[in-house]
Symmetry: C2
Subunit: 210 residues, 2 copies
DNA sequence: TGTACATCAGTGAACGCGCGTTCACTGATGTAC
DNA sequence: TGTACATCAGTGAACGCGCGTTCACTGATGTAC
């Protein structure tokens, strides 16, 4: 009931960090509570003093990592001009070494797993919207001219809607490219997915997303 | 050593089909051999007369489903003009009911799971390339003009490279959009991912990918 | 056509194992006087 | 400063369970004569 002891909170965080690494690399079902606690430097018995269940841990891991990504994108979108912010966000997301490490955005490693668990889905909902808002803020408006718009909203509204659609598509492209790059047995093909995705999102010529 | 009996081959196919449904809906680790065999109308003991292990089944399920998708795309790309073929392929992939069912392309449900298993990765390599080739064949060349090309290859080569890059990015977008749509707890957001992805891939105005 | 036998697909009991979870206990930390 | 006690984070043995896998067996199918 009282405030959690500093030490307790720190241990809890260590468990979250350990699970963040292991779950992304091996999948939620591919890692036992035992392994998570060992990675955190503890024994498995103490786990349930910090989390109600392994499922609760998984949901919180996804939520925490996604919220961290959303905060980082918000920060970048506020401190840089839109073009360079977009560039930085996209190239960091598609960085080949990060992709190969299996770490990076949990959407690419845990997406389908989290989507199957209702606890997971509701946990990540807010962070996902945060990522989309940050991304929409740095998206260029209408890179290619759009024909036959229905034109019933005020000017400015359409721009926002357009930027939001670009953000939705761009996040889809990034998530898919990372998953497909990890799936490709051929390293050249893996790299090609990442490069093609970066090129399709970043308007200016992009030579090397490394 | 001899030819497999017709009955044997048919049973094997029933197991593959059952696993194709269950693995996509619940994940590979979320379904036991027991459940697969029950869904196929058999008992669990007979499984190992048809497959060496559950891992081998998983790899073959992914390979089979992906090869089927590649064949379907090839067929569409050969029998229709590129624009309508692309439209049909993309709208079928992003169909909201199919997405909600959890069936459809195994890349979206099993992608990260398969990517973690080396047997899985090597099993799907060929089919993945087949999908990309079919997609590249129906992709429009340079929807937006590309500036500062290095221009050292023959004309025609650049077009191919460009179409291939579009195919890589388009497949990434489709895979990501389906995963994110399933992850979104909000049905409007789910629909928005699918619509935005379709609109970003299909050049002409696309009103409803249903 | 009918009987005897070989083949083989599928059954279901059994195995060991690792998982998620519980709980009585230990040992360290912090407070009271 | 030092002792006695309460609190509490973490330990590790134990639990039941479900999983992947094996195997002796059954019952149906097909062949030989």
């Amino acid at each position: 009931m009282a405030e959690p002891t500093p030490r307790r909170a720190e241990t809890r965080q260590r468990i979250l960090d350990a699970a963040g690494v292991l779950f992304r690399q091996n999948g939620i079902d591919g890692v036992g509570v035992d392994a998570v606690m060992k990675q955190a430097g503890l024994t498995h018995g103490g786990f349930y003093a910090h989390f109600a269940s392994k499922e609760a841990l998984a949901a919180e891991v996804a939520q925490t990592l996604l919220a961290k990504a959303a905060r980082s994108w918000c920060e970048i979108s506020r401190t840089e001009d839109p073009d360079s912010a977009l560039r930085r966000i996209v190239l960091a997301y598609l960085n080949p070494e990060k992709v190969a490490s299996g770490l990076g955005c949990p959407l690419t490693s845990l997406g389908p797993d989290v989507a199957r668990r209702s606890a997971g889905r509701s946990a990540v909902g807010g962070a996902l919207k945060g990522m989309l808002e940050a991304l929409a803020r740095v998206m260029p408006d209408t890179p290619q001219p759009r024909s036959s718009a229905i034109g019933k909203t005020q000017p400015g509204h359409d721009e926002d809607r357009n930027r939001r659609n670009h953000a939705l598509a761009a996040l889809s492209t990034m998530v898919g490219a990372v998953i497909l790059a990890r799936l490709a047995d051929d390293p050249d093909l893996a790299r090609a997915f990442l490069d093609a995705a970066a090129e399709s999102i970043i308007p200016a010529p992009a030579n090397s997303p490394g």
